[in-house]
Structure formats: C-alpha cells, structure tokens
C-alpha cells in the first residue's frame, strides 16, 4: 500500500485511486436530516470533480488560495480536495474565530475563494469583505436563511457543482482537462496552508506539501497498522493539523471512512452510533468524559455506586497490566472479566468507545490518572507528540510501550535530538516548507540542514528511551534563588485535578512561585450542589471561601509531589488566587487550541500579579471581555489571594 500511495502522491490522485480500489466502500458519512447520509469513494470522486470543475468555471487558478471555514462537513473536506485537484491551495480557518482574525488570515494568505458552512460564516465574511479586494467568490454549503442575499459574489455549493456537472456533460474535453490537472500535481507541490494560532504574536501560515502529508500519513498508518476498515468521527477544528491528518490525510491514504456528526450537541451520540475505531482527542476531552461519568454516577443508587467504585478500583489495579499482557493472577483476571461484564463493557458502550482499537491523546500532557483510567478500562490510549510544522508526527508510543509521563519514540522516518539548552529538535519527511511570506521566522525555526526547533524543552528518558517533555523551552526559567522552574510542568500537575480547569504559574526571576487558577464549572459546580453551596454566577462560585479551601488542599498536594523531585523541589507554590473569569480564546487569553498565552495573561492581569507578590490579601481587577455575539464589555471584581504550605527543602539541593 505504501507503494500504491507513493504512486498516488497527491490527495486528488489518492481519491482517484480509492475510487478504483474501494469504489463501493463508504468514504464519508454525515448525519444529516436525522439519518446517516453515505458517500462511497466513487461518489466522492464524482462530487469533488463536479465542484472542482465548477470552481475552474468560476475562475479559480492554479496556486489560487481557497479558504475553508466551518465545522466538519463532508462538503468542506471535498472542497479541499477539489481545490488541490486544480493545484490551488486550501486554507482552513477556525470556524469560531471572530471577523478580525479571519480578515487577517484571508488577507495574508491572499485568498480568492472562500468555501464556508452557513449563514453565520457568510455574515462574518460579508462584514469584512470590503477590506478583502482579492476575495472574489464565497461558496456556502447550508442554504438556510441565505436565499434573499445578494448573490453577485455568493454561490451555493450545489450551484457550483451544477455548473461543473453541466460543463462536464457539455464535452469530454473538460473531464480530460480536469484529469490532466490532477495528473500534473506533484508531490512537492504545496498541499495546504495551516495557520497556527501561535502562542505569541500573529498566526503563521505553515506550508505543507503533499509529500509532507502523504508520507507522514502513510508512515502513521504503518506505525499503527491502520487499514480501510477504520471508522473515525471528525469533530475537531478543520484548521488544526490534527484533524487534517487524522480525518483527511490518513483516510485518503488508508481508504477508511470519515464520519461527520449532526451537530456539536450530538457528537457523543453520533460517536456511539458509528462506533469509531480510531480516535484522536486532546486530553481535555478524555478528562471531560471521565468527569461526566463520575458526576453521573454520584446520582446512582448506593448499591450500584459501590459496585461501580469497586470494579473501577479493580480496573485501576489490574486493567493496565492486562491490557499490556503482563502476568496477572487468575482471580484478578476473573474479577476483571466480571467487571468488564458489569461495568466496563456497558460504560464503554454508553460512552461510545467500545470499538476503539486505538486512541491518541496529544497537544498537551494528559493527567496520569486520566490516562491510566482509560487504559485500565481496556482502551488502547496512547500518547503522541507532534506539531503542525511536522505534519503531526514526531514521536508516538508503540503498542505495549505505554507510559503516562512520556510521549513515546520517534515515528518512522523521524530523527529527534536534544539541544544543549534542552530544546527538542527533529527532522522528518513531514517537515514543513516554511511559514508563508515569513522567511526570517522560517529561518529561526528551521536550520539550514533541515532540523526544526520544536520550542519545547525535554529529554530522552534513559530507561525507556522515550521522549519526555517538561515545558516550552523559552518558559523554563529560574527563581531568584536559582531553583529551576518549569511552569507548564507545575501547571499540568495542578490541572490534573478535575476541579482545576486552567492554571498559570509565575516565578521566573522572582522570589517565589505563585499561581492563578480557573475552576472547572462542571466539577466544582456539582461539588457545590452536593454540599448545598448556593452561587449565582461563575464569579461568585470562584470567589467562594470553601472553594478556596478545597483548591488550597490541591495546591499543597502539588507542593508535596514537587518536593519529591530533586530538580523541581525548589519551585513550590507559595500563594495562589482563583480568577473571577474563565480564560477565553475570544479574549486572546488562550489559543483556539486552549493553550494559555502566559505573557499576554501576565499583562492583562498585571494588578493581580503585583498583588500576588506584594503580599496583599486581595486585589481589584477590571478587564474587557468579549461575549459570544462579539460585543465587548467591562468585567471587574476583587479577587482574594491565599497563602499555602510548602514542604521545606534542604538548602544544598537548591540550584540543582
């Protein structure tokens, strides 16, 4: 198959190959109008071709840029392929980004055609269209509410396809021309541009070639033995490299089926119906599923609850060993079987993960507890370390070599090395061409001899040979007393508590470590209900003294665990506060992929940080916030600050 893919070295070519090899097999399913609409690979080829020809009719040229905005819908994926067939370059954009962000990317990428999901997106584009002279055509999928719009620059997806179909019907020449265009596509051609909402500054357009994606995808398939029988549910942002590889590159290369959910509310429902076999999600999702499970089990009858707890305990004790095929006493095996029958099986069925053969978590460190929980249920959850610049794959955990605190071994064809400053560098077939229109950024990231700076600090674990990531390289700092500080490392420890949604730790070039925390509304809210604590708003709950008490305990536990690790022992948390609002992407506090922008947050909440370090008991803060509908407003509050116990460490061990 690798060779097959090698011949078919672009996605349009792969599509034609699949239409041959897997003609009758499902390629895309979309739950729409209450049932799963299915398209076979052959049908998809037809749809894509029609749309593609339609686009040529409307004047899309080779190397033109096509923006793709919306949630995971077959037609948007097809639009990517249709553009690529013509040698044009798709540019997916986060559907939830506000008009300004969009304007920047559309302009920077010189987009001439935008294919969007629905009225909402169309309205967004129309509001900025005057600033975008190049944008000549907007194509929408969902017609609802749009029929009265001025259609000079506006076309429905179906109309464009009709245009294409008419053209194709008119004469065989257009078909030949199209197939010629596809054949003309080369591996080294630009396949896609993914704008990374970098943790700092403006988004950068990462240019990836077909070779990058196809080869990495094929290697990924080999690494995990993925064939045409997998089922994936596409629910992550189109503009995120993860989704692009897992629900575009890999399906095209391996020939398996992509399933698009009916609506955001129904994802879990739809996942259960489809019975996905190959899943990918950031840690948060796995975390939420567990939180929800635990919360719901709280309402169960005592007997059932105890049974649940008992068998979960059994799973925690033996499950992973059994999954890893280690030696396990017979009685344990039997108990686990029983548990599978009474709890794990049904539970997995409810969560819709019974059929999962392989699940990846990446993007962030996952809490060891959460990680083990899933594995103990018999779900083959693995960690992966990747980047947009690498077409995802850098390292991943091979089956049977699973550790909660590593990100695995280099993937097929990937070389990894650690720089003196601890930064991780890699080299691979997936290495990106460069940042669009940004040579010096490119130069900074990519060495002449092809090594890429990940910007992450880490080390190869001697006993496992796996890579361990501790933090962003630039964020690793030192306290004034010289103790090593890896903020992310501490933040993750904090975030592993279900009650803590987000944590930001400061201390570089300061006397002590302080933390700003976000509570998790689901978990804490439920806790509040059970302890009948009344609260009117997130802000009120966050400020509640008993919530503070609870989180203080968590923080102290973290301190204890830090104290156990020589290197980190010096950087224990002295004081913390609970933020009055959730860190929000719309306010630019976190990226669209929920990564905290530490620097930005520091500026934004400067008064709080000063307060943390000048020893005051509480501080007033007022910030501008953006509401769902884009309106802005001021939000002010006074935030309490807590001191916490630290574990004393012998002086000589400092500055280790």
């Amino acid at each position: 198959m690798a060779t097959e893919a090698a011949r078919a070295n672009t996605f349009p070519k792969l599509l034609m190959r699949n239409a041959r090899l897997y003609a009758g097999r499902p390629a895309y399913r979309h739950k729409d109008l209450g049932i799963w609409q299915v398209w076979t690979w052959a049908q998809v080829l037809d749809e894509v071709r029609a749309f593609s020809v339609g686009l040529t009719e409307l004047g899309l040229k080779r190397d033109g840029k096509v923006a793709i905005v919306g949630s995971n819908r077959p037609r948007l994926y097809w639009a990517m392929c249709a553009a690529q067939a013509l040698g044009a370059v798709p540019v997916p954009i986060y559907a939830d980004s506000v008009a300004q962000e969009m304007a920047y990317i559309l302009d920077h990428a010189e987009v001439s055609v935008a294919v969007v999901e629905d009225q909402e997106q169309v309205d967004k584009l129309l509001s900025i269209v005057d600033r975008l002279p190049r944008l000549g055509l907007i194509v929408y999928d969902e017609t609802r509410g749009l029929r009265d719009y001025d259609h000079q620059r506006l076309k429905s997806f179906a109309d464009v396809q009709q245009l294409g179909r008419d053209r194709l019907a008119a004469g065989a020449d257009s078909l030949q021309r199209w197939e010629a265009a596809v054949a003309a596509g080369k591996g080294e051609d630009l396949a896609i541009m993914l704008y990374t909402s970098g943790t700092t500054g403006r988004p950068k357009g990462v240019m990836l070639t077909f070779d990058n994606l196809v080869v990495s995808a094929v290697n990924g398939n080999l690494f995990d033995k993925l064939g045409p029988d997998e089922e994936v549910v596409a629910y992550l942002p189109l503009a995120w490299v993860g989704d692009h590889v897992f629900s575009y590159a890999q399906p095209f290369t391996a020939g398996f089926c992509v399933n698009c959910p009916e609506s955001p509310e129904t994802v879990s429902e739809d996942r259960r119906e489809i019975g996905t076999t190959y899943a990918f999600a950031p840690p948060r999702i796995y975390e939420n599923l567990i939180t929800l499970t635990m919360v719901r089990m709280e309402d169960a009858g005592r007997l059932k609850r105890n049974m649940f707890r008992y068998f979960i305990a059994v799973a925690r004790r033996w499950g992973e060993k059994i999954l890893n095929r280690e030696k396990v006493p017979l009685h344990a095996r039997l108990l686990y079987r029983l548990g599978e029958l009474l709890v794990y099986g049904p539970l997995k069925n409810r969560l819709g993960v019974s059929r999962i053969r392989l699940a990846y978590t990446a993007g962030e460190a996952i809490g060891p507890e959460i990680f083990r929980f899933w594995r103990s249920l018999g779900i083959n959850l693995k960690q992966l370390y990747g980047q947009t610049e690498a077409s995802v794959y850098i390292t991943a955990q091979p089956d049977g070599e699973i550790y909660a605190d590593t990100v695995g071994k280099p993937n097929i064809g990937v070389d990894v090395k650690i720089a003196e400053n601890g930064e991780v560098l890699f080299k691979s077939p997936g290495v990106f061409v460069g940042y669009y229109k940004d040579p010096q950024q490119t130069a900074q990231t990519k060495t002449p001899d092809g090594w890429v700076h990940t910007g992450d600090a880490g080390f190869i674990d001697p006993k496992t040979g796996h890579l361990k990531i501790i933090d962003r390289a630039k964020d690793v700092g030192r306290l004034n007393d010289g103790s090593l500080l890896a903020p992310k490392y501490i933040e993750n420890k904090l975030k592993f508590y279900p009650n803590i949604r987000e944590a930001v730790v400061y201390g570089d070039k300061r006397d002590c470590v302080c933390a700003m925390l976000n509570i998790d509304l689901t978990a804490v809210g439920n806790w509040a209900e059970r302890n009948n604590i009344v609260y009117g708003s997130y802000q009120e709950l966050a400020g509640h003294p008993r919530v503070y008490d609870m989180l203080a305990e968590h923080v102290e536990e973290v301190n204890r665990s830090l104290a156990e690790e020589k290197a980190m022992a010096g950087a224990q948390i002295r004081r913390f506060l609970i933020l009055h609002k959730e860190l929000d992407a719309d306010d630019g506090e976190v990226t669209r992929t929920q990564k905290v922008r530490r620097g930005f947050v520091a500026e934004r909440y400067a008064p709080l940080i000063t307060a943390l370090y000048n020893g005051s008991r509480e501080a007033d803060i007022s910030t501008e916030v953006t509401f769902e509908d884009g309106r802005k407003g001021m939000l002010s509050a006074s935030v309490k600050i807590r001191d916490v116990q630290t574990v004393p460490v012998p002086a000589m061990e400092k500055a280790a």
């Binding site: 729409d32 109008l33 209450g34 009225q119 909402e120 309205d123 129309l126 509001s127 609802r144 509410g145 029929r147 009265d148 719009y149 001025d150 009916e262 609506s263 509310e265 129904t266 429902e269």
Partner: protein
C-alpha cells in the same frame, strides 16, 4: 423545503438581507398592494361576547401577505380571543372575516387549518405523550393522502409517503436546530424547547397565515433572541405571513411591520411600530402595565 404555500409577495427580491440583525428593507405594502388584493385576511367590525362579558367589540383590521403583524395590549385586552376567532374556535356574534378574498361563514378550526391557518398557543399545547418528531409529523397530517389499507400494510405508497414527509419534517427540525431532542417525549422538554417544537408543528402545516400567541412568554433573553431569529427566518425563508401576540415590546418593535393595539376588546391604535409607540392612547393603556 419549498412549499406550495409561498405567497409571491414574500420573497424579498431586491431588498437583500445584508446584515445579520434581520431587518428587511421596507416591507409594509403600499395602498396598491391592497388594491391588488394583497390583503390576506380582513377582519371587519367583529364582536364576541361570553354571556354578558364582551371579549372583542367591533374590531376591524387586516393582515397583508408576507408581513409580520403584531397584536398587543394589556392583559384581558381580547388578543387571544381575536386569534381564536380567526382560526375558528369562537364564532363572533357579529362582524365579517375575509380570508384570501373569500368572506367565510362560521367554520371549525380544522377547516381553518385546511384553509392554511396555523397557530401556536400561549401555554404550549403539544401532544405530551408523543416525541418531538411525532408532534411535528402530526402537523403534516393534512399533507398525507394514503388511505387506510396502505397504512395497514405500511408498504409501497404509504411507506414512501411516510418517508417523504419524514424528510420534510427533518428539514424543519434542522431549521429549528432541535436535532438533539428529536426523539424525546415533549413532556420531558424544557419550556423553551417545547415552544420551539410547537412552532415546528405549526410550520409543518406550511401555512399561509401563522398565528403565534406569545411565542416568547417565559423565555430567557437568549431563548427570546433565538425565537425572534426563527420567526424572521420563517417569514423570509418560507414567505409565511405571521400574526403574533407578544408582551415584550422590544421584540414587537424589532419583529413587526405593523402593530395592532387592543384594550378591553376595543382597537385603540393600528400602524407601524413607530407610530404606535408615539400614540397617546397606547401610552395611557400601558400606564402601570410594565412589560
């Protein structure tokens, strides 16, 4: 979903909707429209009384094709009674009602339905024992022709029809964004969603005239915004003429093209939102009644 029920006056032609707030150019038809017979429903000097109590006294007004017509007034102003007269629940003691140019004698509600009048109720009147899907499917009863014996077999034409109607209903479900509650018994749904399902059931009838009795009663701000959006979309997308009773003045002013004001069963004002707002009689009627 293209219904045969679209009235020509509905599609906004030149006045493209170029912002998301949903303000449709100027729609209120001119005199010529009325001459051209663009009045969909005309109520002439209608009176209705229960025993001695007068609910409606000599009220006249008209509803024009494609417009959104608001009926407002303090509690007990006879608004709901007016709707009940229009769709045949009450038979006025005097007065005349002309629908689609035909003056009509006293008729039963289902005859009104046949004529193309749908409505929702102040306090949701759904079929509690049925799912959201079935409720809306029930709204298509009139569109289904297949006879008894086909139904028995649920085969051939009957099945084809059932599936065809299901597809249409699914479009409505999609339109109202209630996919996630499709198969939930409506009795178990929160109020806001019930109202949405009820609207869906009314839409399923593909009516020419849609009567909404306080569609936003007891809703929170967000739900109200959604509902307003739906009402505007219905009017724009299906070209349905809408008459609605509403207490939330803000909503009324945003949505409606013309407003009829009743007080104690008498018409005290009728005109564009702006005119009505300025009207002294209206202000007096509303003194103390805060909404």
């Amino acid at each position: 979903m293209d219904s045969g029920a679209h009235s020509p006056g509905s599609s906004e032609g030149p006045f493209g909707r170029n912002d998301s707030t949903g303000n449709y150019g100027m729609r209120a038809p001119s005199e010529q429209d009325i001459v051209a017979g663009n009045v969909l429903l005309a109520v002439e000097n209608v009176s209705l009384a229960f025993g001695g109590v007068k609910a409606v006294a000599g009220v006249s007004f008209d509803i024009r094709k494609g417009e959104i017509r608001a009926i407002i007034g303090p509690n007990g102003a006879g608004k709901t009674s007016m709707l009940n007269v229009i769709n045949g629940f009450y038979h006025p003691q005097q007065g005349r009602i002309t629908f689609k140019g035909k003056p009509r004698a006293a008729m039963r509600p289902y005859e009104a339905a046949l004529g193309g009048i749908a409505r929702t109720f102040q306090n949701v009147a759904l079929f509690k024992g049925m799912t959201a899907l079935d409720n809306i499917m029930a709204g298509r009863t009139l569109k289904m022709r297949r006879g008894f014996f086909w139904q028995l077999l649920r085969f051939g034409p009957a099945l084809a029809e059932e599936i065809e109607q299901r597809r249409r209903v699914e479009e409505i479900i999609d339109f109202l964004k209630i996919q996630h509650i499709r198969k939930v018994q409506v009795g178990k749904l929160p109020y806001g969603l019930q109202k949405r399902v009820e609207l869906g059931r009314a839409l399923a009838m593909e009516p020419d005239l849609l009567l909404l009795d306080e569609p936003m009663a007891g809703m929170n701000l967000e739900e109200k915004e959604d509902m307003s959006r739906f009402i505007l979309d219905v009017n724009a997308h299906y070209g349905t003429t809408i008459a609605l009773i509403e207490h939330d003045m803000g909503v009324v002013m945003d949505l409606s093209d013309r407003v009829l004001v009743l007080d104690h069963g008498v018409k005290i004002a009728d005109g564009t939102p702006a005119e009505v707002q300025a009207d002294q009689a209206v202000i007096d009627a509303y003194l103390g009644v805060s909404h």
